[in-house]
Symmetry: C2
Amino acid sequence: MKIVVQKFGGTSVAGLERMQRVLEIVRRTHGKGYKVVVVLSAMSGETNRLLSLAQQFSKEPDAAELDVLATTGEQVSVALFSMLCKDAGLKARSLLGHQIQIKTTCDYTNARILDIDAAAMKALLQDYDVLAVAGFQGCDEHGRLTTLGRGGSDTSGVALAAALKADACEIYTDVEGVFTTDPNICDKARKLDKISYDEMLEMASMGAKVLQIRSVEFAKKYNVPVRVLSTFIDNPGTLVSQEDKSMEYVLVSGIAYDKDQARVTIYDVLDQPGVAASIFGPIAEKGILVDMIIQNTSRDGHTDMTFTVSRKDLDKTMAILTAIKADVGAKEIQFDTGVCKVSVIGVGMRNHSGVASRSFAAMSREGINLLMISTSEIKITMLIEDKYAELAVRTLHEEFELDKDPGERKVGEV
Amino acid sequence: MKIVVQKFGGTSVAGLERMQRVLEIVRRTHGKGYKVVVVLSAMSGETNRLLSLAQQFSKEPDAAELDVLATTGEQVSVALFSMLCKDAGLKARSLLGHQIQIKTTCDYTNARILDIDAAAMKALLQDYDVLAVAGFQGCDEHGRLTTLGRGGSDTSGVALAAALKADACEIYTDVEGVFTTDPNICDKARKLDKISYDEMLEMASMGAKVLQIRSVEFAKKYNVPVRVLSTFIDNPGTLVSQEDKSMEYVLVSGIAYDKDQARVTIYDVLDQPGVAASIFGPIAEKGILVDMIIQNTSRDGHTDMTFTVSRKDLDKTMAILTAIKADVGAKEIQFDTGVCKVSVIGVGMRNHSGVASRSFAAMSREGINLLMISTSEIKITMLIEDKYAELAVRTLHEEFELDKDPGERKVGEV
């Protein structure tokens, strides 16, 4: 049995006309001899509508009940799409997270997939041409409904493809694929034909917003090649897959940026074992993600600690730090929300040096001051004043000639 | 463990303010030492919104998918209500039809309850003060979602009360109880303190619209006393229960009417065995409910057959009859939509005669012509021109002194 998993996001299912376009894609795939597992999101706006309803009813809505509420969005989508399929002569039915079953942890609103009953699904695929699976949802060991977090339908799609050993996993969205950078701020942004899981993880976490990060982690873990493409434009999109030889010759794949950053500095903390843990432990406990962390060289047994968090978490972070300020011997705590992160990403950096210095030089030419620097094997990240964000992205995009076909670019020193 | 089942309809859960009123009632009950099983409908208007969405997507939507769609309405209600309960300090959670489980037949959009896992619910009631159960829904043996037909949440409530052997079953609605007749057309209508299952069945089927008919049948079968009362007005409402001694002394309990009637007459059909079956068989197969049926005395081996159907079914009925006209030897088929059914209902009729003649005389005094008459043990039904509907109801209400306390009425001949 040949199986394709196709996931369609909220904008692709928002209304009859768009769902008919989805039907067209699904029929075409079925016409090529595939059974099609269609994973659908809630119609765009629906999840937000439901969550704001919950906010009306409770300031801190119970997480388990939030999931009972939120899962209705996808349930509506799959029911309506199955009706369309049947009217078009396809043997189709809907499948909810608890019917499949997609077993998850009990972490309501942010559950992780533990297991999918692939045998049961394959048995159903004997009888049906199309299974319309509600994305984003599962159930825990007690049969209570769970959701996989924002954008979780991507993860549903990839997990189903992995469990079913599908021949292809296609994530349909409202963009044509993954770009070298955000086309909204750089008109020379170029669609990538392929990108590695690791690069995609860096791009996604920096706000490329094409795929949910967790779905990429999942795809990497189970080695599921994922094609990202547009529902509305016929175009092969971008293949997200394991690194291959051809990728190594590309120095830089893309430039990402993230404006949702706040920088926090704690001055003069004691430079002794356990201090970092007593700062970042309480922050992690509150579910706050800390991004760049930098510790300066020590002076007189004291040091400065700087890190970034999402702006929405700043108030909570400051409250925590104020509470532990005395314990860690800190003199002062400062924050700054006028900052932005810009990253140069590429697996090619593993084999080529000089990317960092070329990046810094380019920034310098434009008079952009670097506030923080952090590097990984495949990424160079710079924190800058956020008024320079767009200029920085365009400058780096040009520096690494990302508008050109990879073969035509000049490569850095080896 | 003392258990009360309380069901709240769509108008009782439409929005935060109304749900807070529901919470007040539930808390009061819990405060008296009861575990509360709260059965909720979808917010008023929601089921219609979902069904009209389905109509946009398909002219004849798949029944199983309609149920997947429609069940989201109640799912939203129970999630939101559980949030409210938890914020109010009650241990509460939602329960969906497939979680309980409420096992039903596979008759999508009109399934019947087969079994409820009462033991599992009682185990949950050890841990929780309040279980918010989604009304109207269940699941079939394959785990597919089902619904119980319009107004099915009443049946959910009664069935849960029966399965749990609850101490009370209360159906909260937007009226104060069951009235002697429709207060909208007869301002002397009086709330009944109690009514028997059989009378309620006759009242409900005639459009009293307080309780879903099937829920009353269920209550009768399992002998569950059901109290119908208002969410918004503190008032003991009406107890629907087995007939008791005191009811026998009440000659007439109420006057019902139904304007959704069309009369169909087939002239000169062959008066021979099997003809009635060949007329009503095909009609029943299309799911059309036939109400009053009258066959006149035969002339020359032919007879006239008259019956009533809901107006919405008239076109389908005429099409069926036209197709079989020749087979049953009929000369002509006529229909009339300007008709209305008025019924006098009371278990007291079993022991008292004269109700029929008093009813006919009252109609006659007002110049209302009787088009059809049909009687049962506890009901006399008259078909009249629909322009007389309100007058007929008021006349009969007055004739049997239904505005007075039963003890003060004059009783008919014994």
